[in-house]
């Protein structure tokens, strides 16, 4: 069977080459594993490149009183206590070392006056904590990892899409993929597999995410029998561009607010005063996104349906130095000079807190041989992620999943046996769209899915909308199974979308069903019919699994935080402690 295909044998196969994937690959390689990295785009183009504001780490360079405990506490409170406490602890403890390590590998962060790594304010962080490079921190990070990684002998398979994980009994033993350029199939045999595929933003109309973010890792994990947790928590970043239409949803970094940017409505009011008077613009993302949405809905929006974000009271040179790409982005796309005029911004789908259920220390999923890190994994951020905690998450848990997968591979008896029937099924699924004489085109199904998710599984939810959303998704799944693709297998975006669409539909169903199940409002999940936080639901994760083609949801108890960490929250108001 495998002779029919180009095939590669590695110890550890990392799927995804953003921050988490590259950091995992570097670590697995450092542990002696032979590592393959598969990515859908060219190397260095993953969404990490778009991360702007910074990487959160309690280095205490700007505020000497900062510590991992304060970072841990901020993260848990931001996540409405739904975070996996152990992940949040490891994250806060290890982020400073991961940032320093990046510097040793050549990253050039902005400096304090005394020559150390500079840190800036961000929403929900009680100290200036984000190490940064102007507003292009993610680019610095991915380029550093990329350039370090290529000298470590990583085998990188660029523009290659994994469509199925292959299993022998309960264990993951490889992956089936196609080359985007030629459409030819390729088989990877691996002793362990790390999912680092990022998010799901493309299931929504207005998103900061690129075409790659179609929930691939989430769907691959489900297909391999793994559990996803907390899929209802989809982060709307409060500040995306709202105009012109072509750039709607494009990210406007939180660093604008971190550097002193103010939010106003059409009447000129700093409306955050009514939503979070203490933290104002630097409130958590869930709060600010809902505030802007509400202002617009109640008729106090800007001309193009957003809020005004203003940094023009700061010296122009400072704005250009600290927010250079924002300056250019608005100048070039919207004809607005942000040193003189306010920006118009509104919520945009940015991140999913939910993901593959993993062991905090090793990144191991609930299926042997499978690991996950970064946005594809769940638990770290609970019900809402703080800005800056993603880049640190990628480094901390990328490294841990790399180590975990390498250790698993070292103990594995050898490569597993690839089941020809699984390969044949994966192949059929990809080829069928070419063979159909008629059928819907993938682009139109995708547009309808995005609209349904946005209007029915969006920033505010109700039981009625969610039921309708699920109905719509199930209908679109049937259509997607009958999709027809034109042209050849050579670099054919319509064909690529036909496959990615299946992943989007699966994870959309998981999101909607988890959202329906959670009858409360917590963090990024806001239910108009259950507007309050329900302390009893603070102890449960939502769980999604796949049963045939249908998504099943249930609940499982949240891992219990040890008392010494629990004591950190003793002074917090009741309700958040649960």
């Amino acid at each position: 069977m495998s002779e029919r295909y180009e095939s590669h044998d590695v110890d550890v196969l990392v799927i995804g080459a953003g921050g988490a994937g590259l950091r995992a690959a570097i670590e697995a390689s450092a542990q002696g594993a032979r590592v393959g990295v598969v990515c859908k785009s060219l190397l260095g183009k993953a969404h990490t490149v778009m991360a702007e504001g910074g990487v959160a780490a309690a280095l205490a360079h700007v505020d000497p009183s900062d510590s991992w405990k304060v970072h841990f506490k901020d993260t848990m409170l931001g996540g409405k206590m739904l975070n996996n406490w152990r992940m949040a602890q490891l994250h806060a403890q290890e982020a400073p070392d991961r940032v320093r390590e990046l510097e040793r590998w050549g990253a050039v962060f902005d400096r304090t006056r005394d020559g150390r790594i500079l840190q800036r304010n961000f929403g929900g962080h009680s100290s200036p904590r984000l190490a940064h490079v102007g507003d292009r921190t993610g680019l610095e990070m991915i380029r550093t990892l990329q350039d370090f990684g290529v000298h470590q002998g990583l085998e990188v398979y660029m523009e290659c899409t994994v469509t199925k994980l292959l299993k022998q009994d309960s264990r993951v033993v490889g992956a089936f993929a196609y080359w985007r350029e030629t459409g030819r199939f390729v088989l990877f045999r691996a002793k362990s597999v790390v999912l680092a595929t990022g998010g799901i933003g493309k299931a929504y109309t207005i998103t900061s995410n690129s075409w790659e973010y179609t929930g691939d890792g989430h769907a691959l994990a489900l297909g391999a029998g793994a559990e996803l947790i907390d899929m209802e928590f989809v982060q709307f970043h409060p500040t995306g561009m709202v105009w012109p239409p072509g750039v709607q949803g494009l990210l406007v970094t939180e660093a604008v607010r971190g550097e002193g940017g103010l939010l106003r409505n059409a009447t000129g009011e700093r409306f955050m005063e009514r939503y979070d008077p203490k933290r104002m613009e630097l409130s958590t993302r869930d709060m600010v996104a809902r505030a802007i949405y509400t202002e617009v809905k109640e008729g106090r929006g800007s001309p193009h349906g957003g809020a005004f974000l203003d940094i023009s009271h700061k010296p122009p040179e400072m704005v250009k130095k600290k927010l250079p790409s924002m300056y250019h982005q608005f100048m070039e796309f919207a004809n607005i000079d942000i040193t003189k005029s306010p920006m118009e911004v509104g919520p945009t789908v940015h991140y999913i807190m939910g993901g593959v259920r993993v062991d905090a220390d090793t990144g191991a999923a609930t299926v042997p041989g499978l690991f996950a890190a970064g946005e594809a994994s769940g638990g770290m951020h609970g019900a809402n992620r703080l800005g800056g905690n993603s880049l640190s998450d990628l480094l901390v848990f990328g490294r841990r999943a790399g180590a975990g997968s390498a250790a698993y591979a070292a103990k594995a008896p050898g490569h597993g046996v690839v089941d020809p029937a699984q390969v044949a099924a994966a192949e059929r699924e990809l080829l069928e769209p070419f063979e159909r004489a008629s059928g819907p085109d993938p682009y139109s199904i995708h547009r309808r899915l995005q609209q349904s998710m946005h209007s029915l599984v969006g920033i505010f939810r109700t039981e009625q909308d969610l039921m309708k959303g699920i109905e719509e998704i199930v209908k679109l799944q049937a259509e997607a199974n009958a999709v027809r693709v034109e042209g050849s297998r050579a670099f054919n975006p319509g064909w690529h979308l036909a496959h990615d669409l299946r992943n989007m539909l699966t994870i959309s169903e998981a999101i909607a069903r988890c959202a329906l199940q959670r009858r409360e409002s917590r963090g990024a999940h806001a239910r108009l019919d259950y507007p309050n936080l329900n302390p009893e639901l603070g102890d449960v994760n939502s769980v999604a699994t796949l049963d045939g083609e249908a998504v099943r949801v249930s609940q499982s108890p949240l891992p219990r935080m040890p008392d010494e960490l629990r004591a950190l929250f003793a002074t917090e108001p009741a309700g958040v402690q649960s």
Binding site: L42, V49, L139, H151, E181, G246, A334, F491
Partner: protein
């Protein structure tokens, strides 16, 4: 609704040509929006690379009206009105399909660059002013527009002998890093072929990140190469001491 006319290259290594498409023109539209509209409504198999759509990833490089551009950053209203917008793949690299070219060579060059090598036992403190220049080089988004426009690569096809502006910028970022201990002038001279650059500054003109490639990166590197390899005084010093600069 007003319409835009685009002439988009369709084809592969075996041949092809420009094909006309009409798309509705929206306010603030960029060329990539128009290409996506064609994909989503008329030609689902039209191949194009893109990711961030915000001029931060450097994926959607192509040639618009013959000029190397990021499609996501090129506004339709900045192009001559009433004329078709011609969109073609990068000329310096072999075509894969439509607007997608084979840029693999760049990744091979990158692997050969001697990596960042920190000074041992150094204190990791430096002033912001000391790294402003290095940060300029590190803004590079690897769109390869500079590689595409560089006549050493574009007209003379010297991928065998010249690393291209992108990788000279990368070397400059390493060489001027305050913590780097390595000397890369031998690499620059012998492997990267820096001598082939005759400073026409075309690369600087097309850089979407406004990196002053020629003046800030290439010329200082050329000077270092000359100092290390052609300066008679230094050659004599080297002969006597047996040491190279940076050692």
């Amino acid at each position: 609704m007003p319409e835009a006319v685009l002439h988009v290259y369709r084809g592969d290594a075996s041949g092809g040509g420009l094909k006309e498409y009409r798309v509705p023109l929206e306010e603030g539209m960029v060329v990539l929006d128009a290409i996506h509209h064609i994909q989503g409504h008329q030609a689902p198999d039209l191949a194009v690379r893109w990711n961030c759509k915000a001029a931060k990833c450097g994926s959607c490089s192509a040639e618009v009206n013959g000029k190397p551009k990021l499609l996501c950053k090129t506004r339709m209203d900045a192009l001559p009105p009433g004329q078709p917008v011609v969109v073609q793949p990068l000329k310096a690299f072999p075509i894969v399909k439509d607007l997608v070219t084979d840029v693999q060579w760049n990744y091979e060059v990158n692997k050969r660059i001697p990596p960042f090598t920190p000074k041992p036992n150094a204190e990791w403190r430096w002033k912001q002013e000391d790294v402003d220049r290095v940060q300029e080089f590190r803004k590079c988004i690897e769109c390869f527009l500079c590689q595409d426009v560089c006549h050493v690569l574009r007209s003379h096809g010297r991928t065998d002998a010249f690393a291209g502006p992108r990788f000279l910028v990368r070397v400059a970022g390493l060489e001027m890093h305050p913590m780097d201990a390595l000397n890369r002038t031998k690499f620059l001279k012998e492997d990267a072929g820096i001598g082939l650059c005759n400073i026409t500054k075309c690369c600087t003109e097309v850089c979407p990140e406004d990196i002053t490639i020629t003046d800030n990166a290439i010329i200082p590197l050329k000077e270092r190469v000359v100092d290390d390899h052609y300066d008679p005084v230094r050659m004599l010093v080297r002969l006597v001491t047996g040491k190279k600069k940076g050692e």
